[in-house]
């Protein structure tokens, strides 16, 4: 009788343990699913924001925005570019040393030119497309 009760107890404990484990697995899976949904929502929001940034930074969009304020959007001439960061994107990732040294030597002239434009060309503001990003 003692053995019967003992084995029944062991089987019961194992059974209850198994059921508890299964229910915990289901619970955890629900938690995982909720977390996944939240992560997915945040990623979606992030995607929306990235899209909005790209759309707002689009040259066409900037041009239209400036046109509303009677400003003209022009590509900056090589003499009007002041390279602050030391890094810049290039159309074909080529930067001839000639162009580079020439640009470096003209920083002061760039400043003068920029000021000249700012004062003289009231309706024409020169933008450096590289500096947008």
């Amino acid at each position: 009788m003692k053995n019967f009760i003992l084995w029944t107890g062991i089987i019961l404990v194992i059974g209850v343990g198994y059921v508890w484990q299964q229910s915990e697995m289901v619970k955890v899976s629900y938690d995982i699913r909720d977390s996944e949904n939240r992560a997915s929502l945040l990623l979606d929001q992030n995607r929306d924001l990235v899209y909005n940034v790209d759309r707002l930074e689009s040259p066409g969009n900037l041009d239209k925005g400036l046109a509303r304020n009677k400003m003209k959007f022009e590509v900056a001439g090589y003499r009007r570019v002041i390279n602050v960061s030391g890094k810049r994107e290039s159309a074909n990732n080529e930067d001839t040393s000639e162009a580079h040294s020439f640009r470096e030597g003209l920083v002061v002239q760039n400043m003068r030119d920029f000021l000249f434009q700012a004062i003289g060309g009231k309706e024409s503001i020169i933008f450096n497309l590289f500096s947008i990003r």
Binding site: M25, V26, V28, S29, Y30, I32, R33, S40, L43, D44, R47, D48, V50, Y51, D54, R55, S58, P59, G60, N61, D63, E74, V75, A76, G77, Y78, R79, V81, E89, S90, A91, N92, D95, E98, A99, F102, R103, Q109, R112, L129, R133
Partner: protein, 575 residues
């Protein structure tokens, strides 16, 4: 005693009955568990297991500086379990204004009795929130990827667009669909009583593979410069169409390709097919005088003419055969070969071209890539029309050297001028730089490739370049002249052919092809304006200024310093 015995017998009978019943039930249970029938298995599977399809994310399209040109957003698609909807009329009236759909169409869907019916797919977040606020029973939402193009019309003919099911339908989206679309994944998931998937009971899954990203050769800024110039020309000249192509002559990279009219790929359904057509590679036209570049290259390469050799240009009218009189726009007397090209004299070109044999001329026409697809990697490219010599008439050697009796695409023209810029080597035009995975690993890289072997010698290319420089400085292309830079180019004005088969006197194709800077060409450009309206319609008057505007902005953007003389003048200004 009797009672006890009878009682026990009954008890035994009842127990036995129960035992038999239990045995039968146990047997049945064991049989179901161990040897289930197909019918039961299917029923259980249908109730408890569901296949979860995992949609792959379509690859992103970047420009050469890794700026996004096409991307994905996840939006809600709204569906109904119409079988569960009690008041479909009310639901339809509530949903109709929000979903912007006809009420009767909605009601038809809601009362169809089907377990699942789409109401509207890929709706905006605002619309989705409004529908959710209604809390209509049996209306559900599924997240789906939708393609978005953040720059709208920019490069729309190159990028193309993907449809509702994220399948490429036009442009690079179609041509590279195999790489972009990825492979859907799936997994079998156990579901609970509320039909929610229980992730811990997943089995037999196939991993989703997202699409590869595409890096185009296009430069967003150069594309925009060309777009803006094309738009202005299209409006100012009230033209039927405008095409501009910008190419790197050294490696064949297409930096910009623009067509007007154009379309917004985000709203592609709102635009007719005519606006969505990539005219730069699909439409063909008679190139007119721009083709004289090919004629000049051919005769120079064959050694049949000298630059300073003089030809009499008959003061503007020359009877070629009985009934065929050739005219020049401006009458000329004696001109050197160089001047013939600069002034674009038809009579002069005819006299020069008389020296080349038909088969040799045909060889050069084909060598420059005419009459064949370039293989740019966009759908729908035309071959153009180059008739075999057997079909040439007596007048063919009059018409062909000045760009008639041949149909070309704008892309073929920019490739041809690029070969002159590239010292006689014709590069295959490319629109894709590389295909990369999500982590940036290169899956496929497009290396510069020669379309054919050398078309003309370096010497001939140099001679033709010198002629084209003069054409811009003193000839018909003066409107393309740009202070500070040496530019080579050629104008073209071709009469269009009417439906009657005769040349029109009021419909023209004005064009300009050229490259800059001459000493180290970085860009070659073709500008083609179809049917410019107004008193000015020639390539020199309408296409050359567009070329100048585009090349001027591009050279600034590419930080290409002006030629030495100009630099000296600029330096003096500040000292």
């Amino acid at each position: 005693m009797m009672y006890n015995r009878s009682h026990r017998r009954k008890a035994v009978l009842v127990s036995l009955s129960f035992l038999i019943l239990l045995s039968v039930l146990s047997g049945k249970l064991i049989s179901i568990q161990l040897f289930p029938s197909n019918k039961i298995t299917k029923l259980v599977k249908r109730q408890h297991w569901t296949m979860r399809v995992i949609e792959p994310e379509r690859g992103i399209i970047f420009d050469r500086a890794m700026r996004k040109l096409a991307m994905n957003k996840r939006l809600d698609s709204v569906y109904a379990e119409s079988i569960k909807i009690k008041d479909s009329a009310r639901a339809a009236s509530l949903l109709s204004p929000i979903l912007d759909m006809d009420e009767s169409v909605l009601q038809e869907s809601l009362s169809s009795g089907r377990p699942f019916v789409w109401l509207k797919r890929k709706i905006s977040n605002d619309v989705s929130a409004s529908v959710q606020e209604l809390k209509i029973e049996a209306i559900g939402f599924v997240k789906e990827n939708k393609r978005f193009y953040p720059h709208g019309e920019l490069a729309s003919h190159i990028i193309g667009f993907a449809g509702m099911d994220n399948v490429g339908l036009e442009g690079a989206e179609l041509f590279y669909d195999e790489y972009l679309r990825g492979r859907p994944g799936w997994s079998l998931v156990n579901r609970d009583a509320k039909r929610r998937p229980v992730l811990s009971y997943e089995k037999d899954s196939l991993k989703v593979i997202d699409g590869y990203n595409l890096v185009l050769t296009i430069d967003q800024i150069i594309q925009y410069i060309a777009e803006r110039a094309a738009e202005k020309a299209f409006e100012d000249l009230k033209a039927a169409s405008v095409t501009i192509i910008v190419m790197n002559p050294k490696n064949g990279d297409i930096l910009a390709m623009v067509n007007r009219p154009t379309f917004d790929p985000n709203l592609y359904n709102n635009f007719v097919q005519d606006m969505r057509r990539n005219r730069a590679i699909v439409d063909t036209y008679e190139p007119g005088s721009t083709f004289k570049v090919i004629t000049a290259s051919s005769v120079l390469e064959e050694g049949l003419v000298q630059l300073q050799e003089r030809f009499f240009c008959e003061n503007g009218a020359y009877r070629v055969t009985k009934g065929h009189v050739l005219h020049d726009h401006v009458p000329h007397g004696w001109l050197t070969f160089e001047e013939i090209i600069d002034e674009s004299s038809n009579i002069g070109v005819y006299k020069v071209a008389e020296r080349i044999k038909r088969d040799r001329f045909y060889h050069y026409i084909k060598g420059f890539g005419f009459g064949g697809r370039t293989g740019i990697g966009l759908p729908g490219e035309s071959k153009g029309t180059v008739y075999p010599i057997s079909k040439w008439s007596k007048l063919s050697m009059m018409a062909l050297p000045m760009g008639h009796e041949i149909a070309v695409t704008s892309l073929q023209m920019v490739c041809a001028i690029s070969s002159i810029a590239n010292k006689g080597v014709l590069m295959k035009p490319g629109i894709v730089m590389s295909i990369i995975d999500k982590d940036g690993n290169i899956i496929k890289s497009e290396e510069p490739e020669e379309l054919f072997s050398r078309v003309v010698s370096e010497r001939t290319a140099k001679l033709v370049t010198d002629i084209l420089v003069k054409a811009v400085e003193d000839g018909t292309g003066v409107n393309a002249r740009l202070n500070g830079y040496r530019i080579a180019g050629k104008t073209g004005t071709a009469q269009k052919i009417e439906a009657s088969g005769k040349y029109s006197h009021d419909k023209f194709v004005a064009s300009f092809i050229g490259f800059a800077p001459v000493d180290d060409p970085r860009v070659s450009i073709a500008v083609v304006i179809d049917e410019p309206k107004g008193s000015y319609y020639t390539g020199g008057a309408v296409a050359a200024p567009v070329f100048r505007n585009v090349v001027s902005e591009i050279l600034k953007y590419m930080e290409i310093p002006p030629d030495n003389n100009e630099r000296l003048i600029e330096a003096k200004r500040w000292n």
